[in-house]
């Protein structure tokens, strides 16, 4: 029939490039409160529609509505708010430090704070989180010392990682935060392996893995879904869809014609698609998936729909590939503003308290910064010793590394 017509090669294009009007009409939204909440032991086949809906709890007035509205105390919400604000302040300070040459590299998570903070506060102390480089909010929410975070970013003498790792590639086992890899995707199947191990040992703790929407194209994503499905591993598989992967928009990762949540359907893994800027939705969806995992009902995949307000990293200039003001048009707003509004509506917060807290946090971050800088930065070269680079390659240093270390010493 159409045999004679030539084929065409299609490369997806984002709705707006620099100079264009931002356009987020492609993001499928649902009304807050409108999506049903199945029982946690539901058959995945009975909830495929949720992969195409969007779980939202906070309505435009900041009121929490619908079946996903979680039972959560104002204290807990204030903890979350505080951690999100602190994360943003921390990011700004460290980005600044990078500009001053105190470190080589920095990555912010501006606009995406709700996911990491919410999971950190909702999951248990023995659960394990397998993050990417954009979940510093977890560490802050779990009160991992700011100074330690900064020392890592400065690669200074007090850096727990001895200056070996790129800035922001934290490791914090004590708060359930797996060492960050510079290689995209790898941690996703590792999260599944960790959960398999917990099940093998009859433990009660679960894991949570993170991948950006761009990195879902990597093999590890597929391996994670396959293994999680086969062994019904107790894991939460999070896809943080912040619309961008450096310069390429989510359509290049294949999200143009489907949702990332839907990737789970073919594996009979329950899929939730969630407003990632709605802190209450984060708590609620995480709780659902965690309960399901702990009840031996297996994995859940959650797509968190959010927007990367910040540049990809300190090396990136997004105005080269997207409208500079695109973030202003983002339909899901800002997670801090929205939680603040909710607490105020609930009578548990005020603009004044908010402003006060802001100042308090700035001071806290500032004084941590001062302390961290006192241990050195890349600028002044007060870093871990050269000799230390031979340590931890193996548990016991083999002869050839001992020899090389002697050589280095001259």
């Amino acid at each position: 029939m159409t045999e004679a017509a030539p084929l065409r090669f299609k490369v997806p294009e984002p709705p707006a490039r620099p100079g264009d009007q931002p356009d987020f009409s492609y993001v499928g939204l649902s009304e807050a409160g409108s999506v049903r909440r199945p029982a946690v032991d539901v058959d995945p086949a009975a909830m495929r529609d949720l992969a195409y809906a969007m779980i939202r709890v906070l309505d435009d007035n900041g009121v929490a509505i619908g079946p996903w509205s979680p039972d959560v105390t104002a204290d807990d919400l204030r903890r979350g708010l505080r951690a999100m604000i602190k994360t943003r302040v921390y990011d700004d300070r460290m980005q600044n430090a990078q500009r001053q040459g105190k470190t080589s590299f920095y990555i912010r998570c501006t606009g995406e704070e709700a996911f990491a903070v919410g999971q950190a506060l909702e999951l248990g102390p023995r659960d394990m989180f397998f993050p990417t480089y954009r979940q510093q909010g977890w560490l802050i929410a779990r009160d991992w010392p700011l100074v330690d975070m900064m020392c890592q970013v400065f690669s200074n003498e007090n850096d727990r990682l001895h200056g070996r790792q790129l800035p922001v590639m934290y490791s914090a086992r004590d708060v359930g935060f797996f060492t960050i890899s510079g290689n995209l995707g790898t941690q996703y199947i590792q999260a599944v392996g960790w959960a398999m191990a917990a099940a093998i040992k009859g433990d009660t703790c679960i894991s949570s893995g993170v991948v950006g929407e761009g990195a879902t194209a990597e093999a590890d994503f597929h391996h994670a879904l396959t293994f999680a499905s086969t062994y019904q591993a107790p894991v939460i598989l999070n896809v943080v869809n912040n619309q961008w992967a450096i310069s390429s928009f989510q359509g290049i990762a294949g999200g143009g014609s489907s949702t990332f949540a839907a990737r789970a359907l073919g594996f009979a893994i329950p899929a939730l698609r969630v407003d990632g800027n709605d802190y209450l939705a984060v708590i609620s969806a995480t709780r659902w998936a965690a309960e399901r995992a702990r009840a031996n009902c297996g994995p859940t995949l959650i797509e968190w729909v959010t927007y990367r307000v910040a540049p990809h990293s300190s090396s990136d200039d997004p105005s080269r590939y997207r409208p500079a003001d695109e973030w202003k048009a983002w339909p899901l707003g800002d997670p801090i503003d929205r939680l603040k509004a909710h607490l105020i509506v609930r009578g548990e917060w005020s603009d004044d308290r908010h402003a006060e807290q802001q100042v308090e946090i700035r001071d806290e971050v500032q004084s941590a910064l001062k302390q961290a800088e006192s241990y050195g930065t890349l600028l002044d070269g007060r870093v871990a010793s050269a000799k230390s680079i031979f340590e931890d390659v193996f548990e016991v240093m083999p002869q050839h590394l001992q020899r090389q270390r002697r050589q280095l010493e001259g």
Binding site: G193, W194, A199, A219
Partner: protein, 337 residues
């Protein structure tokens, strides 16, 4: 002491370790109910349960990636890659993750992982069932690389590998699972029962990683080799009458340089024998470091006898395989140099 073939010795090592340490688990493609295409895990699922020994989806990257995650939890996975030729989809998880986990986290997380894989040719397996990729692993900082040449070592080394707190690549020359093949493919197959190193204690013992074995003391030249090629070298020695000192490296990384140096300084001549392709094979590292440490004692160029720099052909297997004739010819050249 019971005599057993090498695959059974390997099974015995896993059996011992599954019994001693409840954090040991074994898995891979066809590893569970079936017991592995080379039978190395036969009976282990029945004995230890399918939560300790199990089948996986066909995804080498998934197998190794999941194993790394299990290590982070505290398990000691022993995974099987069905053929070394199929390890490449898993290389990223090995190179970027397992090998660097300890380093990048300053030992907060480690990867006490053992990756077993049948390697080498001689079974008419063609280009995808015959490869010897060991040199790739030796270039990756953070991995240990082991290749046994007999059942006794295989069991002791595998136990040491499983107990090691770092990732170990454990290559098993499949041609010698059943007997010590010396390259004479046209002669009857010799079983391990007729070889002293086919005698394997039943229980726990270790052959430490990083130590080579002198298989034959000699004065004329030193042969550095490992795996199947140990037996081929022995045949070449018998056939040429050259008084060679044969060093079976057993562990390629960390390398037992003391044993190597002492021998080459004594004999003044060195031949390296491996089945892998030549360019950038592990023989290159051996030759480079021997000439560094033994330059003034060397009386002849170090020769490498290796597989040719081509994919492993199916029909011309024996033209490709570096048999005793090629090894012997190298002896002659080196002795005449």
């Amino acid at each position: 002491m019971p005599s057993m073939p090498m695959n059974v010795a390997l099974r015995s090592a896993m059996d011992v370790m599954l019994g001693r340490d409840e954090n040991v688990v074994a898995f891979g493609e066809d590893v569970g109910y079936f017991g592995g295409v080379f039978r190395a895990t036969e009976g282990l699922q029945a004995k230890y349960g399918s939560h300790r020994v199990f089948d996986t989806p066909i995804a080498e990257g998934g197998i190794i990636g999941a194993a790394v995650g299990m290590c982070a939890y505290g398990l000691r996975p022993v995974v099987e890659i069905q053929f070394a030729d199929y390890v490449y989809p898993g290389l990223d998880q090995l190179i970027s993750e397992a090998a660097r986990l300890r380093y990048r986290s300053s030992a907060e997380f480690t990867a006490p992982l053992t990756v077993r894989m049948p390697c080498g040719g001689g079974i008419h397996g063609g280009q995808t069932h015959s490869q010897s990729p060991e040199s790739l692993f030796t270039h990756v900082c953070g991995l240990k690389t082991v290749m046994p040449s007999n059942p006794y070592d295989a069991k002791g080394l595998l136990i040491a590998a499983i107990e090691d707190n770092d990732p170990v690549i454990f290559l098993e020359p499949k041609r010698i699972y059943n007997g010590p093949f010396d390259g004479h493919y046209d002669r009857p197959i010799v079983p391990w029962s007729s070889h002293p190193l086919g005698e394997v204690p039943d229980g726990y013992y270790r052959v430490p990683l990083g130590s080579a074995a002198v298989r034959r003391a000699g004065e004329d030249l030193t042969v550095l080799t490992y795996g199947t090629m140990v037996h081929v070298t022995e045949a070449a020695v018998a056939e040429t009458g050259v008084d060679a000192e044969i060093i079976d490296l057993r562990t390629l990384l960390p390398l037992d340089t003391d044993t190597i140096e002492a021998s080459v300084k004594k004999t003044g001549r060195c031949v390296i024998v491996h089945e892998a392709t030549r360019t950038s094979g592990f023989g290159a590292e051996l030759a480079a470091s021997v000439q560094e440490s033994c330059f003034y004692q060397l009386e002849a160029p170090i020769e490498r006898v290796t597989g040719w720099d081509t994919p492993y052909p199916h029909a011309q297997e024996w033209d490709y395989f570096p048999g005793p004739a090629r090894v012997g010819a190298a002896f002659t050249r080196v002795m005449e140099a």
